[in-house]
């Protein structure tokens, strides 16, 4: 993975940069000793590492603005970071860049039950919002599996998902407002506690922009009433296609469950070996369906889904009768990653989305690809919304095996795009999928996205080297395009 060439003059100015940062953020907020900097070498994508030039941990919006203003004036790159749980290298540092950590922005500023909103600082963890709101019977819906550690600021940057997206959407569907600091140091407030925001949808643009457009210093999220009941079903099939059909039939019946998850045979076996929860080992696919809402609704839906599952040839249907059942059904799915970690020295988690119906075909193709690469793959799948998480098993101590696993991952993602899907459903492009972007977008598409980057950060100082496979200078992107290979109306003056 190639990152932008470090700028020697910036490296040479390191002492001056550290001093300037200390003037803006006094005390413990600036880290420059090599030992301490190492803690920031990577995020959740640990295969890529880079020690940052310096780490700055501001605790006010004004400090963030001052850091960005100074770096902007001095031409120094900045990489924003939340909890560092990104699985795509979104917070991978730069050797010649300031790492701007938002970890000190830890306050929940307000829970406002009547407006069904919470105002929080970006360093608050995803789960802490729901915990703070629970006393009012409210919660924050998006629940990425790292929710105990990941921060809402990182969720905004990555447009994080979770297992309940089919019914409740991604982060972008659950935000009301942000305070944003631009690379220039200007502070912009977008939205608030209402639903409508006039002008261009900056909130929607910033969400999922992977720290390339601005630094979020405050977030207002939408809270939802906590459902009265949650019920789950554990359904086994001896054929993956039948499990996929069951998901389709549930939706065709007009039911939108809170979550629908499929595990394939290798994932079932890994989970069962890890937790011994009673998953059927002869099943080819295990489908977990969760419904939530009023008691009356849940009871109705559980019976209806059971009927649909039997029609699809389910070999086993278990209904949860209590919260413990629910937890047991989910336990294996939630522990899928550590379970795989137990049977393989290393694993590489891929994240693509496909149209749901392509699941059997995709799994077949994946088996063939894995065989060719000589690697094993276990699958967990957010079946409701087509988001696939193949876990590629490999051993990093074997020469070339990580590269092999990465190559298999790239092949799987390219296949996702060919089937009408996308490169990443929830983990982000970052550095990991950066060079795959041309599989999904033409150079015209990518240039148009980069022009948006130029609109907010014309000097390309904020998190450069992520998302776009080729860094193009903004002046270059502004050049006149030539229609049909020739300039028509040649008599017109051009500026």
């Amino acid at each position: 993975m190639r990152m932008p060439e470090p700028d020697q003059s910036t490296l040479d100015r390191r002492a001056a940069i550290v001093a300037a940062m200390r003037r803006i953020v006094p005390g413990e907020g600036v880290i420059d000793s090599l030992d301490e900097l190492r803690a920031y070498d990577c995020d959740g994508l640990t295969a890529y590492r880079q020690t940052p030039l310096v780490v700055v941990l501001p605790d006010t919006t004004e400090q963030v603005a001052a850091v960005l203003r100074w770096c902007s004036a001095e031409g120094v790159k900045v990489v924003p970071r939340g909890a560092g749980t990104s699985l795509s290298g979104g917070a991978l540092p730069l050797a010649d860049g300031v790492l701007l950590g938002l970890g000190k922005f830890k306050s929940i500023l307000e829970i406002d039950p009547d407006n069904r909103a919470a105002v929080v600082q970006p360093g608050v963890t995803n789960l802490a919002i729901s915990e703070a709101a629970s006393g009012y019977g409210l919660y924050y819906a998006p629940d990425p599996s790292s929710q105990i550690a990941c921060t809402i600021g990182g969720n905004v940057a990555e447009n994080s998902g979770g297992v309940h997206c089919l019914k409740y959407g991604l982060t972008t569907h659950n935000l009301l407002g942000i305070e944003l600091v631009l690379m220039s140091g200007e502070i912009v407030r977008v939205g608030g506690k209402g639903l409508e925001r006039p002008g261009y949808d900056l909130l929607g643009l910033i969400t999922g922009s992977e720290g390339l457009l601005g630094v979020v210093t405050e977030v207002t999220v939408r809270l939802l009433p906590a459902p009265e009941a949650v019920r789950a079903l554990l359904i086994a099939f001896d054929d993956v296609a039948a499990a996929g059909q069951c998901v389709t039939d549930v939706i065709a019946r007009g039911i939108v469950p809170a979550g629908m998850e499929i595990m394939d045979r290798p994932a079932i076996h890994a989970a069962e070996a890890f937790l011994e929860i009673g998953y059927p080992l002869d099943a080819e696919a295990l489908l977990i369906i969760e419904v939530d809402g009023p008691e009356a609704e849940c009871a109705l839906l559980v019976d209806e889904i059971t009927r649909i599952a039997r029609n699809c040839g389910a070999t086993m249907v278990q209904q949860s009768t209590c919260d413990e059942d629910c937890e047991r059904f989910w336990a294996g799915r939630k522990a899928a990653f550590p379970a795989i970690g137990r049977i393989s020295p290393d694993y590489y988690c891929v994240d693509g989305t496909i149209p749901r119906r392509c699941l059997p075909e995709m799994l077949r193709d994946m088996r063939e690809m894995a065989r060719r690469h000589g690697l094993r793959v276990a699958n967990v799948f957010h079946a409701g919304d087509g988001n696939l998480h193949p876990l590629i098993l490999y051993d990093a101590n074997r020469e070339g095996e990580f590269e092999n696993a990465e190559a298999l991952g790239a092949e799987i993602l390219t296949r996702c795009v060919e089937l009408g899907g996308v490169l990443t459903g929830e983990h982000g492009v970052g550095v990991e999928k950066r060079d795959l972007m041309p599989a999904m977008f033409t150079s015209v598409d990518l240039d148009q996205q980069q022009r948006v980057k130029c609109a907010l950060d014309p000097a390309l100082l904020l998190n450069p080297g992520k998302m776009f496979p080729t860094l193009r200078r903004c002046a270059e992107l502004g050049r006149e395009h030539v229609h049909h290979g020739q300039t028509r109306f040649p008599g017109l003056p051009r500026f």
């Binding site: 009265e228 009356a296 609109a455």
Partner: protein, 380 residues
């Protein structure tokens, strides 16, 4: 003025590229259901650029050319008991008029959303992807056809509500959802001052109210889904609200009430019509104050949207509307008015940093300022 009526993606790209080459400004037109008047060198009329290109009920997705009538898409979805959950409204139907053939491109570009927005989101939340032609004359795409997609910047959000100022939409891909099998509405007689509290309590409750509105002395609260569930939840809601005079409307009677909210029946078609976005809990107090100023009002989205009807002369009440909206943390836009009124009704401009961002974003897509000159999404 040259009028281009492309009927294919290729013809659309060609027409726009021609205008870009010649630096001709373009008015982008769907069915022309709004009162927008654009003074431009050419018109890109999308009325014949129509047709559903992909409807996949199992995958909950529909894609259509931008000139496809909303009514055609909604009829097709209804045949499979599905819907566009953001509840769009044909602008001509507002105030009781006959629908004017609003196009899906217009619906997306105007950020359209009806009463269900409070629970299901707006056009921006359901636009999965699109293709368009930029102000450089280049055809490009963004997004995809699946819900879970974080690949690249979310340009779909920018285009929803951009009023044709960033590019000409070619095709749009939208998420669809199952339509509720049954609905019921709880009707709660109350005055405007009490409405905010009643709606807030209902929306906070686990019975999952899908819409909440107030006009003419009554709050309407909608519950929908499968019949047994609706019945159980309705009883729970009625018990919680517990006020004298509450009534229940079922099925088509309930749907009729919400058509009335969606088309703003409470405000006469002859009025200058405003919509005001506010922090949810400020809505009812704002509406009450505006009634005191002589406006007709309809509160939707539990308070986050207030429709106002004022006199369609002078400035249409712009002075007091904007002053009070801003004081309440909101933003008012004129939906329908006589041209002379509209000319005097612009809202206060955004702050300098925001205005700079809007300008740069517009230039990122339309560097020569050719699309819908003079139209500012901030004012719509």
């Amino acid at each position: 003025m040259a009028v281009h009526r492309p009927d294919s993606s290729a013809a659309l790209a060609e027409a726009v590229a021609d205008c870009v080459e010649a630096r001709r400004t373009m008015a982008i037109r769907g069915a022309g259901t709004t009162d927008i008047v654009i003074d431009a060198d050419a018109v890109i009329d999308l009325a014949v650029h129509r047709g559903i290109v992909d409807y996949d009920p199992d995958e909950l997705v529909v894609a259509a050319r931008s000139g496809t009538p909303l009514a055609e898409i909604e009829a097709l979805l209804a045949s499979r008991r599905q819907m566009l959950a953001f509840d769009p409204v044909d602008p001509r139907a507002i105030g009781g008029g006959a629908p004017g053939g609003a196009t899906i491109g217009g619906v997306v570009a105007s950020g359209n959303a009806g009463p269900r927005r409070v629970s299901a989101g707006a056009a921006r939340d359901h636009l999965l992807g699109f293709t368009a032609v930029s102000g450089r004359g280049e055809a490009f795409k963004a997004g995809g056809r699946v819900v879970k997609n974080v690949t690249g910047f979310d340009l779909a959000k920018l285009f929803a509500g951009s009023w044709g100022t960033l590019g000409v939409l070619d095709t749009v891909t939208l998420r669809v959802l199952p339509a509720p099998r049954f609905e019921a509405t709880l009707i709660v007689p109350c005055d405007c001052a009490e409405a905010g509290g009643i709606m807030a309590a209902a929306l906070r409750h686990a019975v999952a109210v899908s819409c909440a509105a107030w006009s003419d002395g009554r709050v309407l609260l909608r519950i929908d889904g499968f019949r047994p569930s609706v019945d159980a939840r309705f009883d729970q809601l009625a018990k919680m609200v517990d006020r004298p005079g509450i009534e229940r409307a079922d099925g088509v009677d309930s749907a009729r009430l919400w058509t009335g909210v969606r088309t703003v029946e409470a405000i006469p078609a002859t009025a200058a019509l405003w919509r005001v976005g506010l922090p949810t809990m400020r809505g009812a107090a704002f509406a009450e104050a505006m009634m005191g100023e002589g406006f007709r009002v309809l509160i939707d989205w539990g308070g986050a949207r207030v429709w106002l009807g004022g006199d369609d002369d002078g400035d249409g009440g712009a002075g007091v509307v904007h002053a009070r909206a801003v004081a309440s943390g909101g933003h008012a836009r004129l939906v329908r008015a006589a041209p002379a009124v509209r000319a005097r009704a612009a809202p206060p401009p955004p702050d300098a940093a925001t205005a700079m961002l809007y300008r740069r974003l517009r230039e990122a897509f339309d560097p020569h300022g050719l699309f819908n000159p003079g139209l500012d999404p901030w004012e719509r």
